[in-house]
């Protein structure tokens, strides 16, 4: 039986959106006031139990209610119905440097901020040097924070936040701060928090971050929990959601109809998984409406984080495309792609060698690369270790 640290029971949150706020408007339109009220349910019947020592990721689209849920857990917003109970010491990192006063020095702000997060003065005294060292802004600690660069500001704020000693840490989109070495430092700190048995609930848009940190993912959609469980599955559901949105957008764009010289009339993307990788085949039909002698096709493969893993076009391959008016078929085979596990998107484009775009199909299709057997990353590799004694 695991100990629970947070329990959310049957929680709903309704926001009432008023159209007008001043006394005059309220008095003048007193009888019609209900016409100007709009109810909006940010959370609907949420039940959630967070066991001690777990790291839970809340993911979802913008406006899906994940930040609201975090605020309800943190006690910042009172739920309309239902109860939230929790125990232990909580620190909420919803915005870095929320309590910073621009006119005060870094030192003074550290004390105020630490106190807001629940540290006593003595504890702050004890941690103060660590905090300053972690932030890496020793020289400027007695400067007013209004003169800080934005990077220095968030680094100091984050340094304070990770030095409070919380049992429960609520984090909202604040882990991606500072330069790369500092981000690494933050991630290391979070990892050591996890080893020390602290509970973390975090809201993030970054699937890779959620995948790396969390042992449980909750997918929110329109105020409801649509998935609660294993991170890999959760991230897949989230991405499928994004994907279907994108498909809908693409279809809408297609309907709008683009009257250019060259267009796609048919797109068929198929993939075949085998032992060493994936074979991807693109079958396209292109219609040339006006006679143009200079057109070509470009294909880009991207992972879901938007990293381009491969790009190719017909100009680079010095291929001549048929210039005659009418429909033409193009088949592109991409055999034996040794890509790391995950979903990949295929983007297509038609254009001229001078860079003019005739038509584009962003996210025209997708394929899945199978789970890696060895290691992880963008590539699928069969590694061979040779372990022996030193020569």
């Amino acid at each position: 039986m695991t100990t629970e640290i947070v329990n959310v029971e049957n929680v709903s949150k309704r926001f009432v959106l008023h159209q007008h706020r001043s006394v005059k408007e309220r008095v003048v339109d007193f009888r019609g006031r209900n016409r100007h009220r709009h109810d909006f349910w940010a959370l609907r019947d949420i039940d959630l139990s967070v066991p001690l020592g777990s790291t839970v990721g809340l993911v979802g689209h913008n406006g899906s209610g994940k930040s609201t849920l975090l605020k309800v857990i943190g006690g910042i917003i009172e739920p309309t119905t239902g109860t939230v109970t929790r125990r232990g010491r909580m620190a909420a990192l919803l915005e870095l440097g929320a309590g910073f006063h621009p006119d005060l020095t870094g030192r003074e702000n550290v004390y105020v901020n630490a106190s807001i997060l629940g540290l006593t003065r003595k504890e702050t005294d004890r941690y103060f040097d660590d905090i300053v060292e972690f932030s890496g802004i020793e020289e400027f600690i007695d400067t007013q924070v209004k003169f800080y660069s934005s990077g220095m500001y968030v680094r100091l704020a984050f340094a304070v936040a990770v030095h409070v000693d919380p049992d429960l840490l609520l984090v909202d989109e604040v882990l991606a701060v500072g330069d790369e070495p500092f981000q690494k430092k933050c991630m290391d700190k979070i990892a050591s928090f996890q080893r020390e048995g602290r509970t973390i609930v975090l809201v993030s848009h970054s699937a890779s971050q959620v995948g790396a940190l969390c042992d449980r993912v909750i997918v929110m959609d329109h105020g409801k929990m649509v998935f609660d469980g294993e991170p890999a599955t959760g991230i897949r559901i989230l991405r499928d959601g994004y994907e279907s949105d994108r498909m809908a957008e693409a279809a809408a764009a297609l309907q709008a109809g683009d009257e250019t010289e060259v267009t796609f009339t048919e797109v068929d993307i198929s993939s075949q998984v085998h032992a060493s990788g994936v074979d991807v085949v693109l079958d396209l039909e292109v219609e040339v409406k006006d006679q143009i002698d200079d057109w070509g096709l470009g294909v880009t493969l991207e992972n879901t984080l938007g990293t381009v893993v491969y790009a190719v076009d017909t100009f680079g391959e010095k291929l001549d495309m048929p210039a005659s008016v009418g429909k033409h078929r193009v088949r592109l085979e991409l055999p034996d792609l040794r890509l790391g596990a995950g979903k990949y998107l295929v983007h297509l484009g038609l254009g001229s060698s001078s860079g003019l775009t005739y038509a584009s199909r962003s996210g025209a299709g997708s394929f899945n690369a199978p789970d890696e057997l060895h290691g992880s990353g963008l590539l699928r590799v069969d590694p061979a270790f040779h372990i022996g004694s030193p020569r």
Partner: protein
């Protein structure tokens, strides 16, 4: 360096001993106020830091710093002293007119500053209210604290001034000064808590307060003597209404304690005082404490939606 797994086990053991507590404050009258009080007590260090932050930030980068807080009441003192005291002649019937006015201005200033700064305190700290969990009463209380700091400085100047240009009358009446200060503190904070909460929903409140403060200034014997009121109203029910104003009664208390000439002067300069000043003060103090409690309950009830209304 402690072993992390040992650390984790210790943490788990500690937490298992704690009971699950509801995040939303109980709204029951008595249970709720006990919990609020305990929470505010837990954050007392932050309260002090916020008061210091307010005071420090206000006078940061100015050469004279906190001395500036004295200039406004001193300027007011000179204006009233010359305009009302000398030109309109009020000083002729009021001994030590400058002392009288400065006592009134100091006590009134405490009330006005508490009410004005608490009213905007929650909105002024919107960033914190929306992004962190704190007992929200902290913000009005910190504003009250800031006003109290200014008050203490003014009182120090006042006490020195009395010693130099007038004299102290040693009697138990001197205790009326701290009692009257407590009344203003409790009453002002009570009013401020309610206004701060309502102001979140209806921003008109802060403008209303500005106007009300200007008008109410004349409803207490600050730049005129109580004798003038007593002569005009002859102890009628209107005078009783006038005296039921907690600010008026505490300013009178402060004057009785510190304005020695008001009690000692004889002949033409003899002053009248309201009857039963001590009982009035103590009853008003009691009422103010009850009001403070009611104010906190109203604040607690309204604070649930602060984060989304700001």
């Amino acid at each position: 360096m402690t072993n992390p797994s040992y650390e984790a086990a210790r943490r788990a053991a500690n937490i298992e001993n704690e009971a699950m507590v509801s995040v939303t404050p109980p709204s029951g009258l008595f249970r709720g106020s006990r919990k609020s009080m305990r929470e505010i007590w837990e954050y007392r260090e932050l309260l002090w830091l916020l008061v210091r932050r307010e005071v420090k930030a206000r006078y940061k980068d100015s050469y004279l710093g906190i001395v500036w807080s004295l200039f406004r009441p001193l300027a007011q003192l000179f204006i009233y002293y010359f305009a009302i005291g000398q030109i309109l002649g009020a000083a002729r019937s009021l001994p030590d007119f400058a002392i009288l006015v400065f006592i009134g201005l100091t006590w009134w200033g405490l009330f006005a500053e508490i009410v004005q700064s608490t009213t905007t305190s929650v909105i002024g700290n919107a960033g914190l209210v929306k992004k962190t969990y704190l007992p929200r009463e902290i913000f009005p209380l910190a504003a009250t604290g800031g006003a109290l700091v200014n008050f203490v400085i003014q009182v120090a100047v006042l006490l020195v001034a009395i010693a130099v240009i007038s004299s102290y009358r040693l009697s138990t009446d001197l205790l009326m000064a701290p009692v009257s200060m407590l009344i203003i503190l409790c009453f002002g904070t009570a009013v401020g808590l309610i206004l701060a909460a309502v102001n979140v929903y209806l921003r008109d409140v802060q403008h209303f307060v500005e106007v009300a403060i200007i008008i109410l200034f004349w409803a207490s014997p600050i730049v005129y003597g109580f004798t003038f009121v007593a002569n005009a109203l002859h102890g009628s029910w209107v005078e009783q209404i006038y005296l039921s104003n907690p600010v008026t009664i505490s300013i009178l208390g402060a004057q009785k304690a510190l304005w020695s000439q008001g009690t000692l002067a004889t002949g033409d300069l003899a002053q009248s005082w309201p009857p039963d000043l001590w009982p009035r003060l103590l009853i008003t103090l009691l009422i103010s404490v009850v009001l403070l409690w009611i104010g906190q309950r109203i604040f607690a009830r309204l604070q649930g939606n602060f984060a989304q209304e700001l």
